[in-house]
């Protein structure tokens, strides 16, 4: 193989080992048929935030897994404090003080915070009896360190998602983690929760914890990072102290070209009112409302962004519009027709389509092919009587794959083999195939890379020009300002502000998103019996 000298990333070696706690040297990771990392050198600096960026498939997660011991390098080695180590498992990495918080949280909602923190590492008396008091005391200390003001006995399911993330961090800290890997920690957090997390990261840093921080949100990286490493196609394309870089530089290193233009197209007229919601409300179990008498209008050719925090009732509003909650109050009118009493299938047929927030749980059919995933909502259109005309179906699938630039070798491959961005495009294709009048998009850019994001934004724009009404939900300020013609802000189940996109300021948006928002944990809804049954049934089936 190549001599290390031929590699362009020499700064790691130049930097001296004093401030480097962990270094990855010449690591190559080969999966059957693909090389995820190619002779990568990467240094984690002590007491600093080491940012790792790259598009999906660039090798970020492989690198992360190697550092966390979940995967082993095919070639190359890891040096911890200058000493070569072999991390055969996550447990071993944890013993070396390397902790990881995955994007998909690994918590048990039915157990308490203390039980979660010490899961599989319980503090015991004589190896049998769990010393709950000792665990509680230790967890209380950790929670204090993380400024999370809840009891260790709180059930995890009663925590907001940002708080759950802090519990994951507590889990790593309980094992005296000196290196903490955070994988997209903010993807599900509200602006306020992000601030809390950043404060925690700053505190940990000052306590000497080294952070490896992975994210797609570039502004955030610039703010929080001390060093940045960019990966593309399994190679490191850039490695700099954060002070010396800016967003265009990062994007250039990531995609090999400058950022795409998100600017608004000019001069297309908005059409007639296509969706009206009047006093839509969804009661919360145990009092109050998840969706609190929301009224809104959407015109054809208009993109309306709904900005708000997680738990503000945005997804529930979409579910009410689509008819998932038969007991929801209020009235929905689609293109002049009331949707009262119509089941989901009728609403979809009438021209509503939802791109759900949680792709895996609510949108993808993992076993089925890319093609079957795309045509599911629109099978009737391909069928003559009882028979699906496969020629037509195939032609339609191929044309959408082309139009949306979906990267897939064969449309008969299972959809689970695609990257997040391409899966999202498949879900969008499914919605578009029904020729909807109104598109409801719930966090359409969540967990996808910047290239796919730009593609999807462009598609949204094009659709609006063609006369679709688009209602989309996001917690990303940049995104809501760049894409929307009009911005609604939701907080605590209500619409608290409405802005024309031109006049919306960050401060006004954030302020409106915090109106009347719950901060306590005690008022969290008790999970209802129905919800449980539903889950059990799905699990059993």
């Amino acid at each position: 193989m190549n001599a290390p000298g031929s590699n362009s990333n020499r700064h790691d070696n130049d930097a001296g080992f004093d401030d480097v706690i962990l270094s990855v040297e010449g690591v190559t990771k080969v999966y059957p048929g693909t090389i995820a990392l190619k002779e990568v050198n990467f240094a984690v600096r002590r007491g600093a935030v080491n940012v790792l960026v790259g598009e999906n498939g660039a090798g970020k997660s492989t690198m992360m897994k190697i550092i966390a011991g979940a995967e082993q390098p095919s070639m190359g080695r890891l040096l911890l404090d200058g000493v070569p180590v072999e991390l055969a498992s996550s447990a071993e990495a944890l013993r070396h003080g390397i902790g990881i918080v995955y994007q998909e949280l690994n918590l048990f909602p039915n157990l308490s915070i203390a039980e979660n923190v010490f899961i599989a590492h319980e503090i015991t008396r004589a190896g049998i009896d769990i010393d709950a008091d000792a665990q509680r005391a230790k967890v209380r200390e950790l929670l204090k360190r993380l400024e999370l003001d809840v009891s260790p006995d709180t059930l995890v399911e009663d925590l907001r998602i940002g708080q759950q993330q802090l519990v994951e961090i507590a889990k790593a800290l309980a094992h005296d983690a000196r290196i903490l890997i955070l994988d997209e920690p903010t993807s599900a957090l509200s602006a306020a929760e992000v601030e809390v997390l950043f404060q925690v990261i700053a505190d940990l840093k000052s306590q000497g914890v080294s952070i490896v921080y992975i994210s797609h949100r570039l502004e955030e990286l610039i703010r929080i990072g001390d060093y940045i490493t960019v990966l593309r196609d399994g190679r490191i394309t850039g490695h700099q102290p954060m002070a010396q870089v800016d967003v265009p530089w990062i994007v250039r290193m990531m995609v090999g070209r400058d950022t795409k233009d998100f600017s608004r197209p000019i001069g297309h007229e908005r059409g007639a009112e296509v969706l009206t919601a009047r006093n839509v409300s969804l009661p919360r179990k145990g009092g109050g409302f998840l969706v609190d008498h929301v009224s809104l209008t959407l015109h054809a050719g208009e993109i309306v962004g709904i900005y708000g925090l997680m738990g503000a009732g945005r997804s529930e509003l979409f579910e009410c519009i689509l008819g998932c909650h038969p007991h929801a109050g209020g009235e929905i009118v689609l293109a002049g027709q009331s949707l009262a009493g119509k089941p989901i299938a009728r609403r979809v047929a009438d021209g509503l389509a939802l791109i759900p927030e949680d792709r895996k749980a609510d949108a993808l059919l993992p076993i089925l092919s890319v093609g079957s995933n795309m045509t599911l909502s629109n099978l009737a259109a391909f069928a003559r009587g009882f028979d699906i005309r496969t020629q037509q179906e195939r032609a339609s699938i191929l044309s959408y794959i082309r139009d949306l630039a979906i990267k897939v070798a064969d449309w008969r491959l299972p959809v689970s083999s695609l990257s997040g961005g391409n899966q999202q495009k498949v879900v969008i294709a499914r919605a578009l195939m029904t020729s909807p009048k109104v598109l409801l998009m719930d966090e359409p850019s969540r967990g996808i890379d910047i290239g796919a994001k730009a593609d999807i934004f462009k598609v949204m724009r094009d659709l609006a020009v063609k006369g679709l009404g688009i209602l989309f939900v996001t917690s990303d300020l940049e995104e809501v300002k760049a894409l929307s013609d009009r911005i609604l802000v939701m907080s605590n189940g209500r619409i608290t502000a409405e802005f024309d996109a031109a006049e919306a300021s960050d401060n006004a948006l954030v302020a409106a998103s915090a109106v009347g928002h719950r901060t306590g944990h005690g008022t969290a809804p008790q999970p209802g019996q129905d919800g449980h049954d539903g889950h059990d049934r799905l699990a059993a089936a």
Partner: protein, 379 residues
């Protein structure tokens, strides 16, 4: 060597070209670092995919040597008769399992529909002082309707009342069996040849008729098998059944009428079971209330053997039918060899478990293979 991924991506060739490039890439770049276990995965995958067929040929060849007269036409016809009964149930069961459910009630529906037919032929319907006798085609329709009705009951319990499929169909298993026993007080309805005076003759023909020497039930299996395979592969209903089994909530949000599809699936399963009940009663010219007991287990076994995944979303009608043949031939062949019934039971269990293990192996190989294909596209 290091430039090869770029070359693949820029390649103007279609996927066939990518494949060869990919293999090249594999052998050059990877052999040195990973053990050469990846060689010959395509043929391996094909073998694994055809495993049910291979198992079928294996049992056929084995018994043709081990059991006297096994390959005689007469014996094959008798066996296909036995297989057909299980295959009907297994076809209905496959749809149910693919949709993410389970139907334990089919064995009892076999018994009940037979009793409905037997009762109507033998005793008719008492109407005050008169007794109404139905002609055999009408009797058959009524018995089929009884099966569909129990299926509909399953569907309502599962879709409207949110009862887990296992529990709902366990309940109807007992209900239908109890109803079958009640209909005659536990007695057999004997001698269903019918009475020419009442126009109730001809029922035995259903089971005994042949066409070109092949028994009627086998022809019926061909018809229903083709129909079911077509529904599964080429109709919106079929696609939606797979979608529901893969991710019910996603299907719902995409506008699939989940409840309606599930109702259809359970009603079809009941329909298939009723056919079996009718055929058995007709063959025996008698209906017994305990007929069909534990048939549901054989049906599940055939479906699983044919590659149906118990977690839903995966399974093929063709595979299920072949699976039913493997089970049927296995038990008939062992009987002819004089193997004890106890050993037969053990062997059947081993075969089922082995089938699922092989299924898992295939899934893993397939995943690895898909990964390689994906790597070839540079995704």
């Amino acid at each position: 060597m290091t430039g090869s991924p770029q070359r693949e991506r820029d390649s103007p060739f279609a996927s066939s070209a990518i494949y060869t490039l990919e293999t090249l890439h594999m052998t050059v770049a990877i052999k040195s670092v990973v053990p050469a276990s990846s060689i010959g995965e395509a043929p391996l995958l094909l073998l694994l995919k055809l495993r049910t067929f291979i198992a079928l040929f294996a049992v056929l060849i084995f018994f043709s040597f081990a059991a006297h007269n096994f390959l005689s036409i007469a014996n094959l016809l008798i066996m296909s008769r036995h297989v057909a009964l299980n295959a009907f149930l297994a076809i209905g069961m496959t749809f149910v399992i693919v949709a993410g459910g389970i139907d334990l009630s089919v064995g009892s529906i076999v018994g009940l529909s037979g009793m409905v037919a037997g009762g109507l032929i033998l005793h008719g319907i008492p109407l005050g002082g008169y007794t109404l006798y139905l002609s055999v085609p009408v009797v058959i329709l009524v018995a089929l309707a009884a099966g569909v009705l129990i299926g509909a009951l399953n569907g309502v319990l599962i879709t409207r009342l949110n009862v887990a499929p296992f529990i709902a169909t366990l309940g109807t298993l007992y209900i239908a069996r109890g109803a079958a026993l009640l209909s005659s007080g536990g007695e057999t309805f004997p001698n269903l040849t019918g009475n020419p005076d009442y126009g109730t003759t001809g029922f035995p023909l259903l089971g005994s008729a042949t066409l070109f020497g092949v028994p009627g039930p086998v022809w019926l299996l061909v018809v229903i098998g083709l129909f079911a395979a077509y529904v599964a592969a080429r109709t919106p209903l079929g696609r939606q059944i797979y979608a529901i089994g893969s991710n019910e909530r996603a299907a719902q949000l995409s506008g699939v009428r989940v409840n309606r599809v599930k109702m259809t699936v359970y009603m079809f399963s009941g329909f298939c079971a009723a056919i079996v009940g009718l055929i058995i009663s007709s063959e025996l010219v008698a209906s017994h209330p305990m007929s069909g007991e534990t048939f549901e287990l054989n049906a599940i076994a055939a479906a699983v053997l044919g590659g149906t995944s118990m977690s839903g979303g995966r399974g093929k009608i063709g595979g299920t039918i072949v699976g039913a043949f493997v089970i049927g031939i296995l038990s008939d062949g062992l009987v002819m060899m004089g193997v004890s019934a106890f050993w037969q039971t053990v062997i059947k269990g081993v075969v089922i478990v082995a089938a699922v293990v092989v299924d898992q192996v295939q899934r893993r190989v397939q995943q690895r293979f898909a990964l390689q294909k994906q790597a070839a596209t540079g995704a």
